[in-house]
Amino acid sequence: MTTATVSRWDRFRESFFWYSFKRDKVAIASFAVLLLMVLAAVFAPLLAPTDPYDLAQINIMNSELPPVGLDGADSAFPLGTDAQGRDLLSTILYGTRVSLMIGFGAVVLQAFLGILFGLLAGYLGGKVDAILMRIADVQLSFSTLMVAIIVGAVFKASFGNLMFGEIAIYMLIFIIGVAEWPQIARTVRASVLAEKKKEYVDAAKVMGFGTRRIMFRHILPNTLSPIFVIATVQIANAIISEAALSFLGLGMPETQPSLGSLIKSGFDYIQSGSWWITLIPGLVLVVLVLVINLLGDWLRDVMNPRLYKG
């Protein structure tokens, strides 16, 4: 058992993947920053000085304190406070957590739906293909935001605000996941169309394997690399979608701020002195999305056979 893991580790270390990662400084830096942010987000309850979701800990008298280093700052609030007196550092840590959860959650849902429908459409072809791809076309003709706004409004009206606050995060994962699955489905379908004409598929058929087994065990592994690339980009997209929805007041409720709703809450103050309420979470959001996109770029280069084999 141990030899197996060692050999797998060795294999990884000898792979082109690891080789190109080691030589790409941008990728290393991006990965380090992302890892740091993910860790900070995961351990937010331990790291954050206060719990921003607990309204009882907020004191209005602490509102709009600037970050440390500026006049009037309080060392208890290193990044300052927002208009209601929440500690910005804690809120950003929790907000990053929400953003990442929604980003990853939505992409897992997208990938599940996209891979399933893409495989079915590509491999079975014919009517199944036509129907699934037309559904995807219809879905793509609505913008994510529009769908999210409508679904969000319906949820809000039917559940009441308090209930909505508790399920908001799952609802956002659901909305963003469902709205964007065609992106992945189309990519998978294209790869499947190319793969299914290859000899190993014919061989599998001759050996008498079932359709399901050929689809999932033989074709799917060969279509994974474009999915990885798309998934990274989609994580960044999902985070941005969530921020946009929260900025419009349709995402996370004010009592559980995500990065987007934090940016919105500071918007009234940006020109009247308290710039940090909007600017700091804004920077965090930009950095988060940027490093994910950079990693996605690098991954695309590595996984594109034409770029390194040709």
Binding site: D54, L55, A56, I58, N59, I60, M61, S63, E64, A83, Q84, G85, G160, N161, L162, G165, E254, T255, F267, D268, Y269, I270, Q271, S272, G273, S274
Partner: protein, 520 residues
Amino acid sequence: MKKLIAAFVGSMALAAAPVALSAEATKELKMAYDADPVTLDIHEQLSGGILQLSHMTFDPLLRWTQDLGFEPRLAESWERIDENTMRFKLREGVKFHSGNELTTADVKFTFDRLKESQDFKAIFKPFSGINVIDDYTFELVTSEPYPLLLNTATYIFPLDSEFYSGQTEDGKDKSAILKHGNSFASENLSGTGPYTVAERKQGVRVEFERFDDYWDSESPGNVGKIVLTPIKENATRVSALLSGGVDFIAPVPPNDLERIKRDNSTNLVTMSGTRIILFHMNQERVEAFKNPKVRQAIAYAINQEGIAAKIMKGFATPAAQMSPAGYQGHNESLTPRFDVARAKELMKEAGYEDGFTITMMAPNNRYVNDDKIAQAVAAMLARINIKVDLKTLPKAQYWPEYDNRAADMMMIGWHADTEDSANFYEFLTFCPDADSGAGQYNAGNYCNPEIDALVEKANVETDLDKRAAMLKDVEQRLYDDAAFIPLHWQDLAWAAKQNVKIEPVLNVMNFPYLGDLVVE
């Protein structure tokens, strides 16, 4: 051909001549409020926004001046006949937008309609009737000597009786008052005021045009067209002014006051206000609110000074009662009682140590920073274990919810219509009674007949010292009983371009007399 051209030019010159005479009112004013009027029926809702609309498109019998005196408008003069009767002489030759002429019939029609209006009937309750003497003379009669008769007459904006009578094409009564409904009056308007409504898209823009036959030829106003755009976002509204997109904005958010003061092209006007912002606790929806200890606990949990200092940036006066300083009922001994430890103790005594969950609603474009205040109050209540499900809405949606008493705690701001303490109690703490209109905006369903009786007694008391003592006692009792949660008196701020002379037309009631506005 030449002849033809000459004739054409000549006729144009002739046609242009009368226009040139009345061309004083040629300026255009673009203004941005936080919201636009929710209806055109000035009797549908008693609110600041509707009264502002009334002063633009109608004229009152008389109106307040900046120093809180009276100024004759449609009533030329008035004299007291006996202790219950006041005789008014109406201005002659005043035309409505429809072309009809103003007579006492219109005043009677308006008076009767006010008595019917859900929102206004309580204000006109002391009036027993109206006596029409001739076309231009009438008397207002009260059932008992009423010291605030003239104050109340500032709310009589005569309506065009001919225009509002009869039936619409689909058989509806034109004079009907329908709350949040589509009545004839909510979409059509004919008053005597300086402006007509040329175009209205609810929530998008309202266009006003100067009324050519406006009776007040002495008015210095030279604005021919007003475009009102509602801009809900505070920062956006201020930016619109500073960038030159609009010429006049109200309200100015407290955190942008400095920015506007620094800007040389704009002019800022501020006044300390008399509008109280408060929360009601609905006893019919929440059993716990029936317990005075719970209400007191909430009163102790709220940090009025914190809200005034931090959210309002000092641009408000923390309140512990409804009557602002200077009002007869203002009781100096009442001060904000912020003390979380005491609040927790009271919750424990009441048996609600573990707290409970309530719903809260507040508007987000009606009062200055209303949504932020509501959030802060929700956070303060969390400290005594009351969990708040807060919803903030634009005022067009908020008022229907308010009339349905749709949440356990609801925010309201009140400016005394008569500039007198009693008006606060009549609308906000009287036992709700749909027939008399008492307690029309009492979303707490607080009911204490003893206090109501005391206010009624004060209303007919002509000895001012005795009256003040009674009203002060009322404030004290409401305070002890924690009938509601007062927050602050909101200050007023307007800002305009330097060439828009807003200062002379503004007043503490927040009814800008835009008919008299001069733009240079």
